[in-house]
C-alpha cells in the first residue's frame, strides 16, 4: 500500500488502462494541459502516443459522438470534458444516443464508452464554470454514473467504468485531487457489483454523501463524535443504477438521516435518497425528519465572500445532524 493522491490515482487508472488494453483511447479537450485536467493526464500523451491520448478542437458534441462511434467499433474510449458545464453541449450524444442505443436496438448494441466529466469550481470562476448536475445523469436509464470520493475509487472505478460495456458517466472533482490515502494495486472490478460503502460505522445517525460531500460527511462525523454523537457515514459511489440497500439498513438502525450533495436541492440526488428511504422503510422508521444539505439555490457567484456562503461546509452538516438528534418526533406522532 502506498499513499496516493486522488488526482494521481486517476492518472494511475489511465496508465493502467492504456498500458494493459490497446482498445483504450482517451479523447477530449485539454488533455495535454494541466489547466484543464490537473495532473491526471501528466505525460500520458508522450507515453502512449498522441493518437491514443487525443487533445481536440473545441467541439464537445462531435468529440463525444466520435467517442461513441469508436465504442461501437471495438474500442473503449474515454471522452473527457474538463468541466461539467462544457459537457452540456454534448448532452444529445450522451443522453439521446449513448444512453438509449442498447435499448433502441433491442439490447443488442452495447456502447462501452466513458464520459469523464470534471467538476471544476470555486476560485471565482462563476456560474458557467461550476456545475456538477449529478442528478441529471442519475435520472437517465441507460447511463451508469460513478462519483468517486476516495483515491482508491478514483482509480478503480475509472478502470471499472472503462471495462463496463455500458456508457458510464464518471465524475471526478478537482477539490478532491489533493486527498490522499493508501491504496493497493489496481484490481479490475465489475462496476455493476459496486455498492455504497460504509466508511464509518455508527448507531445514532446516518450521514450519506458522494464525491466531494463524502469528505464533508467524514469530517462532520469526527466532529460529532467529540459531542458523543456516533454517526454512520456512507459513500454512495454509484448514483445510477442506485442501490440503496446499505443505506436502508443503516437508517433502519439509526432512524436518522442527513444527505449532503454538492449540487442544487430541487430534484437532486439527496431528494432521491430521502424519497427512497421513506417509501421503502416507511415513515415510522424515522425518529426525526430526514434532512438534506445542498448548494444555495442560485447560479454560482464569483465574488469570494459569496462563494464562501454558496458551498456547504462541515459545520452545516454538524448543525443538521445535531438538529436531527435533538428532535423527538415519536412523541409528536403520538400527540398528533
Amino acid at each position: 500500500m502506498t499513499s496516493v493522491q486522488y488526482g494521481d490515482a486517476i492518472r494511475e487508472g489511465f496508465q493502467y488502462l492504456l498500458g494493459t488494453d490497446p482498445s483504450v483511447v482517451v479523447i477530449g479537450q485539454g488533455l495535454w494541459s494541466p489547466w484543464y485536467v490537473g495532473n491526471t493526464m501528466r505525460d500520458l500523451e508522450h507515453k502512449f502516443g498522441k493518437d491514443r491520448v487525443i487533445d481536440t478542437p473545441v467541439s464537445e458534441l462531435a468529440c463525444t459522438g466520435a467517442a461513441i462511434g469508436a465504442a461501437m467499433s471495438g474500442y473503449r474510449p474515454i471522452v473527457t470534458h474538463p468541466r461539467v458545464d462544457f459537457a452540456l453541449l454534448a448532452i444529445d450524444q450522451m443522453v439521446n444516443q449513448a444512453a438509449k442505443w442498447n435499448s433502441m436496438f433491442g439490447g443488442q448494441a452495447p456502447v462501452p464508452v466513458v464520459f469523464r466529466l470534471i467538476v471544476n469550481r470555486g476560485g471565482e470562476q462563476g456560474a458557467q464554470h461550476s456545475q456538477s448536475l449529478y442528478s441529471w445523469f442519475a435520472h437517465i436509464p441507460g447511463l451508469r454514473v460513478v462519483t468517486p470520493a476516495t483515491p482508491a475509487d478514483a482509480r478503480d472505478l475509472l478502470i471499472a467504468a472503462t471495462f463496463s460495456d455500458d456508457p458510464v458517466v464518471y465524475i471526478d472533482d478537482r477539490w478532491l485531487y489533493d486527498l490522499d490515502a493508501d491504496i493497493g494495486v489496481p484490481a479490475p472490478v465489475d462496476l455493476s457489483k459496486i455498492e455504497p460503502q460504509v466508511l464509518r460505522q455508527g448507531s445514532d445517525i446516518t450521514l450519506v454523501g458522494f464525491s466531494w460531500t463524502t469528505r464533508l460527511m467524514t469530517q462532520a462525523a469526527d466532529q460529532l463524535a467529540l459531542d458523543g454523537v456516533d454517526a454512520e457515514v456512507i459513500d454512495l459511489r454509484v448514483l445510477n443504477p442506485l442501490h440503496l440497500e446499505k443505506v436502508f439498513a443503516s437508517v433502519a438502525k439509526t432512524g436518522r438521516l442527513v444527505v449532503a450533495e454538492g449540487d442544487w436541492s430541487s430534484c437532486g440526488v439527496a431528494a432521491e435518497v430521502i424519497c427512497q428511504c421513506v417509501t421503502e422503510l416507511g415513515p415510522a422508521s424515522f425518529s426525526s425528519a430526514p434532512a438534506r444539505i445542498n448548494l444555495a439555490q442560485s447560479p454560482a457567484p464569483t465574488s469570494r465572500p459569496l462563494e464562501a456562503s454558496y458551498y456547504p461546509t462541515v459545520d452545516d452538516v454538524v448543525r443538521a445532524a445535531r438538529a436531527s438528534c435533538d428532535a423527538n418526533p415519536k412523541t409528536e406522532a403520538v400527540a398528533q
Binding site: 483511447v25 493518437d51 487525443i54 481536440t56 478542437p57 467541439s59 458534441l61 462531435a62 468529440c63 463525444t64 459522438g65 466520435a66 467517442a67 461513441i68 462511434g69 469508436a70 465504442a71 461501437m72 467499433s73 471495438g74 474500442y75 474510449p77 444529445d92 450524444q93 439521446n96 444516443q97 442505443w101 442498447n102 435499448s103 433502441m104 436496438f105 433491442g106 439490447g107 443488442q108 448494441a109 452495447p110 462501452p112 436509464p141 441507460g142 451508469r144 463496463s164 460495456d165 455500458d166 455493476s192 445510477n240 443504477p241
Partner: protein, 348 residues
C-alpha cells in the same frame, strides 16, 4: 470580399437529367443486380406505405421512394467491416447494404423478429453483419458517431471506412460542421453521403439556406467533394467506387452530394402532403427522373425485358413473404423491457 458560390444548377431541374443510365461496358449481371436492389427498396417501401395507409404500421415511416440509387450505387463498393450509419429515412441504406427484408418489415410492425427486436421501428434499424451499425431519428446524430467509427477504422489500419448518410436538413445542425472539422484535421476515413432532396420536412432548402449546394461546407473544411445526379445509379456507382478505393488506401474524409428527390411526404405514405402542409412542388416532373425508370430504359434497349420481368416477380414475392413473416411474428415479451437497458441485463 464578395462571395461567388456555385449552386446546384441543372441538377435541381426536374426537366433535366432524364437521360437513361449509361450501362455500356457494364455486364448484364451487374446491371440486373442494381435493378434488383433498387426495386427491392422500392417495392418494400411501397408495401410499407400500404401498411401505413391501412393503419397496420403505426410507427413513423419516412419513405425514400425516388431516392433508391444513392444507397444502392454506393453499397456495392462497401464491405461488412465498413461502418455505416443512417437516420430517419434509412430503409434504402439498410436494404442496399443487404439487411434482411423480413427483419425490416417485422421491425416496422414492432415484432421481436425485427432487426432491432421490435424496440426501434422504422426509425431505428441496425444490421451489423452487413456493416450498418445504426440509424436513428435525431437529425445529425449519427454524423459524429460515424466520424468516430472512422477514427476506429484508422486506428485499426485495415482500410475500412465509415459512411454517414445524411440529408440536406442535417447540414444545418452544428454537429455536422464539427464533424467535418474533426474528420479533416485528423484525416479520418469517413464518407459523408448527403442525399440532397431539397427538403427538410415541409421546408424547401431556399427557405433554410442561402445556397442549395451543401458540398460548399465540406470545401470550407478542405474536404474533397463530388456533386452528382443522385438519380443516376451509373454515376453514383462509378464516382463512389473510385472515392471509396482512394479512402481505403489513404485514409481521409470525402463528401458526396447526391441530388435526388423524395416522392412521398416527409413522413407517411401520402404524395400530396408534407407533415400536414399541402405540397406545391412539381412531383410529376420529378417522377420522370425516376432512378429505376432511367435504368430500365437502358436495360430495355439492351433487351433485358425478360430478366426484368423475372426480377419483378421475384422481388414482389419476397416482399409478400416478408409481410407474412412479419405478421405472423410475435411482439417482444413484456418483461424484456427492463433487461434491454444495460448490456448485462441488469434492471435499472
Amino acid at each position: 470580399m464578395t462571395v461567388a458560390l456555385d449552386n446546384l444548377g441543372s441538377l435541381v431541374d426536374p426537366l433535366a437529367h432524364r437521360e437513361p443510365v449509361a450501362i455500356d461496358g457494364l455486364s448484364d449481371v451487374a446491371t440486373l443486380r442494381w435493378f434488383r436492389s433498387m426495386l427491392t427498396v422500392r417495392l418494400a417501401e411501397e408495401a410499407i406505405a400500404g401498411m401505413v395507409e391501412s393503419g397496420e404500421a403505426r410507427c413513423p415511416c419516412h419513405l425514400g421512394i425516388g431516392q433508391e440509387a444513392v444507397a444502392v450505387g454506393l453499397a456495392e463498393h462497401l464491405r461488412p467491416t465498413d461502418r455505416c450509419f443512417g437516420a430517419h429515412r434509412s430503409h434504402s441504406h439498410y436494404l442496399a447494404l443487404g439487411g434482411s427484408l423480413k427483419e425490416l418489415v417485422a421491425e416496422v410492425l414492432g415484432k421481436v423478429t425485427g432487426c432491432s427486436r421490435g424496440y426501434g421501428g422504422s426509425m431505428h434499424l441496425r444490421a451489423p453483419q452487413v456493416g450498418l451499425l445504426g440509424t436513428v431519428p435525431i437529425v445529425g446524430a449519427t454524423v459524429p458517431i460515424a466520424t468516430g467509427a472512422a477514427l476506429a477504422a484508422k486506428l485499426d489500419g485495415r482500410g475500412d471506412i465509415a459512411v454517414s448518410f445524411l440529408g440536406d436538413g442535417a447540414t444545418e445542425e452544428g454537429v455536422f460542421h464539427e464533424s467535418l472539422n474533426l474528420a479533416a484535421s485528423m484525416s479520418l476515413p469517413v464518407l459523408f453521403v448527403i442525399e440532397n432532396n431539397l427538403y427538410s420536412s415541409h421546408l424547401h432548402i431556399s427557405l433554410r439556406q442561402p445556397n442549395d449546394r451543401v458540398a460548399r461546407f465540406a470545401e470550407a473544411h478542405a474536404i474533397e467533394t463530388a456533386v452528382l445526379d443522385g438519380n443516376d445509379i451509373g454515376i453514383v456507382s462509378s464516382v463512389t467506387g473510385e472515392v471509396v478505393e482512394g479512402m481505403r488506401s489513404q485514409p481521409r474524409p470525402f463528401l458526396i452530394e447526391a441530388v435526388t428527390y423524395r416522392w412521398r411526404g416527409h413522413v407517411g405514405h401520402r404524395e400530396d402532403m408534407d407533415v400536414g402542409v399541402e405540397r406545391t412542388d412539381n412531383l410529376p416532373a420529378w417522377k420522370m427522373r425516376d432512378p429505376i425508370g432511367r435504368l430500365e430504359v437502358s436495360m430495355n434497349e439492351r433487351g433485358l425485358q425478360e430478366q426484368i420481368a423475372t426480377i419483378r416477380d421475384s422481388v414482389a414475392e419476397e416482399v409478400v413473404e416478408a409481410l407474412e413473416f412479419a405478421r405472423s411474428s410475435e411482439y417482444p415479451p413484456l418483461d424484456d423491457l427492463l433487461t434491454t437497458v444495460y448490456s448485462n441485463s441488469e434492471r435499472p
